[in-house]
């Protein structure tokens, strides 16, 4: 089934632009963004701050509305896709409610969407297992480490079976050791679930390690400077980061970033 869906386009953007009016004149947060993301892709957006990578992710989630161009998510408008629960969104901070247990937090979107009690319990158990937090459902967020909290927030985004997972620097606030472990776990999760993942980062190794497609962006105006399809196999042990292919790919991303960096 996964193979059959591989060729389908999950997200299609055609010359998207987004302009904010400000007191100093309009700010071009996004300019002429065109991109097709296939189902099952793991796409990373990388670039310096202000390049619009987060803004683009937010337009996919219908949290921002483009001022020009067309954007379709699962063949619908982003807002229709949002209402059809097309995506789960993971922010940089876990954003768990301190007054709810981990299971209660994962249950929150399920309650809002009207899943039955027994269905909720089943789904919570399944996603807790998926992020390796089985047995922690009864704990409160403050009883968990930062990395575990972020895993719980990923579980929350997975609980209602959206086939797109949007992640905005989800591991940005964590230390490198935890980050490595979570990256490995995320690849494992992606393999098991076959989700389409949009992943914002400003770490080159992270982007190269995780992605099938790397989108390099640059600021003022926010635009895409390079789209790199990764030649790396889907099966990626951590050691892959020492192979020449990996290093060459990282080099390509770095060049792309330099290219987009103008001082004028």
């Amino acid at each position: 089934m996964q193979v059959a869906r591989r060729s389908e386009t999950a997200i299609a953007a055609k010359s998207i632009s987004l302009t904010f009016p400000t007191a100093d004149g309009p700010v071009h947060a996004l300019k002429d963004i065109s991109l097709a993301i296939n189902r099952g892709d793991f796409v990373s957006f990388i670039g310096p701050s202000g390049c619009g990578k987060t803004t683009f992710l937010r337009t996919i989630a219908a949290l921002e509305t483009p001022t020009g161009g067309t954007l379709s998510v699962n063949g619908m408008t982003p807002d229709a896709a949002r209402k059809a629960r097309a995506y789960g969104y993971v922010f940089q901070a876990p954003g768990l409610y301190p007054w709810r247990t981990i299971a209660g937090n994962i249950s929150l979107p399920l309650e809002i969407m009207g899943f039955s009690r027994s269905d909720r319990a089943q789904r919570i158990a399944r996603v807790l297992d998926l992020v390796d937090l089985t047995g922690f459902g009864g704990k409160y967020p403050w009883q968990l480490s930062g990395g575990m909290q972020q895993r719980a927030s990923i579980a929350r985004a997975l609980a209602f079976d959206a086939d797109i997972l949007l992640m905005d620097e989800p591991f940005g606030a964590l230390d490198e050791i935890v980050r490595d472990r979570l990256n490995e776990a995320l690849l494992d999760l992606w393999k098991k679930t076959g989700k389409t993942i949009g992943f914002v980062t400003h770490s080159i190794p992270e982007a190269v390690y995780l992605s099938t497609k790397i989108v390099v962006m640059s600021p003022r105006p926010g635009r895409i400077t390079r789209v790199i399809d990764s030649p790396l196999p889907r099966e990626r042990p951590l050691e892959i980061r020492d192979t020449p292919e990996f290093i060459a790919l990282a080099q390509q991303v770095r060049e792309g970033l330099r290219e987009g960096h103008s001082y004028d």
Binding site: L63, G95, W99, Y140
Partner: protein, 291 residues
């Protein structure tokens, strides 16, 4: 030094200082009267006599602490609690109106805050009126409320509760508007991404997030409700409540009675605020919001 003693010592020091200053003031303020009396009776006063007499007058200008303590004890424990001279009875009259007014004020404050947060028109129109309501001197409003209600045949608890509510809704309103707006953009985005309705957003996110603010406001509100009730007991010749006790004390120059009623009110306020503080700690700890 053991920790409890370290906590209590500063409080005791301040208390001791107040008591000392109070005794000094009592002697100083009551001395003219004692000297007058002595001059009229043509007796000679030693300093010892002077001090002893200033502290034992029946109607002193400023009663000494032990006189107030005795008056308070007499009012609380020395009477049947159904007696009109019992501070417990008067205290209950005041307390019941305070609690009723506090309840009305809290509900009104919360409802207005919910309206302000969810409705643009209310957001722009309610707050100036709420602020204006608090700038009107309560002493001017209170007699009118009492008189209006009395002309409709309603006396005792309700009019006083309305005045108490008038003062106590405001802190709740301000605190709740702030509290309901604490969830940050990320929390609201998450709710939006799940396509949550405004009601779901309110019950599951805004309301629980606002509770720390609510409790802080409730502490101010209940003290304000007590003040409102006492003010409501002053006009129209009220015969029951701590406010009436204050008033009749001042009519008849019973300074000890005034001070006893004052302290009874202060103790009542402290207990009420402490009760809300305890409720706050329990709730917030259970919710993982304790700071």
């Amino acid at each position: 030094m053991n920790p409890t003693l370290r906590g209590v010592l500063p409080i005791l020091t301040v208390l001791l200082a107040i008591v000392v200053i109070w005794y000094g003031a009592a002697v100083w303020m009551n001395a003219p009267w004692v000297r007058d009396q002595a001059a009229r009776a043509e007796t000679l006063l030693t300093t010892g006599d002077l001090i002893r007499q200033t502290l034992t007058l029946e109607r002193p200008v400023l009663p000494a602490p032990h006189q107030v303590a005795a008056g308070l004890w007499e009012g609380i424990a020395g009477q049947k609690i159904t007696s009109k001279r019992s501070l417990v009875w008067h205290g209950w009259v005041t307390l019941s109106a305070t609690l009723a007014g506090f309840a009305i004020g809290t509900v009104a404050g919360i409802l207005l805050a919910v309206g302000i947060v969810h409705n643009r028109a209310m957001d722009q129109s309610v707050m100036p009126w709420a602020v204006a309501s608090q700038t009107v001197p309560i002493l001017a409003i209170a007699p009118m409320v009492i008189v209006v209600f009395a002309s409709a045949g309603i006396t005792s608890l309700l009019p006083k509760a309305i005045i108490a509510a008038w003062l106590s809704f405001f802190p709740v309103l301000v605190g709740m508007v702030k509290g309901l707006r604490t969830p940050d953009a990320m929390q609201l985005d998450l709710m939006h991404s799940w396509n949550a309705s405004r009601a779901q957003q309110f019950w599951r996110l805004r309301l629980p997030s606002s509770l720390p603010y609510l409790f802080a406001s409730l502490k101010v509100a209940i003290a304000a409700a007590l003040v409102g009730t006492i003010v409501g007991e002053l006009p129209a010749g009220a015969t029951a409540g701590l406010g009436a006790r204050l008033l009749s004390g001042s009519y008849y120059g019973q300074t000890v009675q005034i001070w006893s009623a004052l302290f009874a009110a202060a103790i009542l306020a402290a207990v009420l605020v402490m009760l809300i503080g305890a409720l706050e700690r329990m709730t917030l700890r259970r919710m993982g919001l304790a700071r």
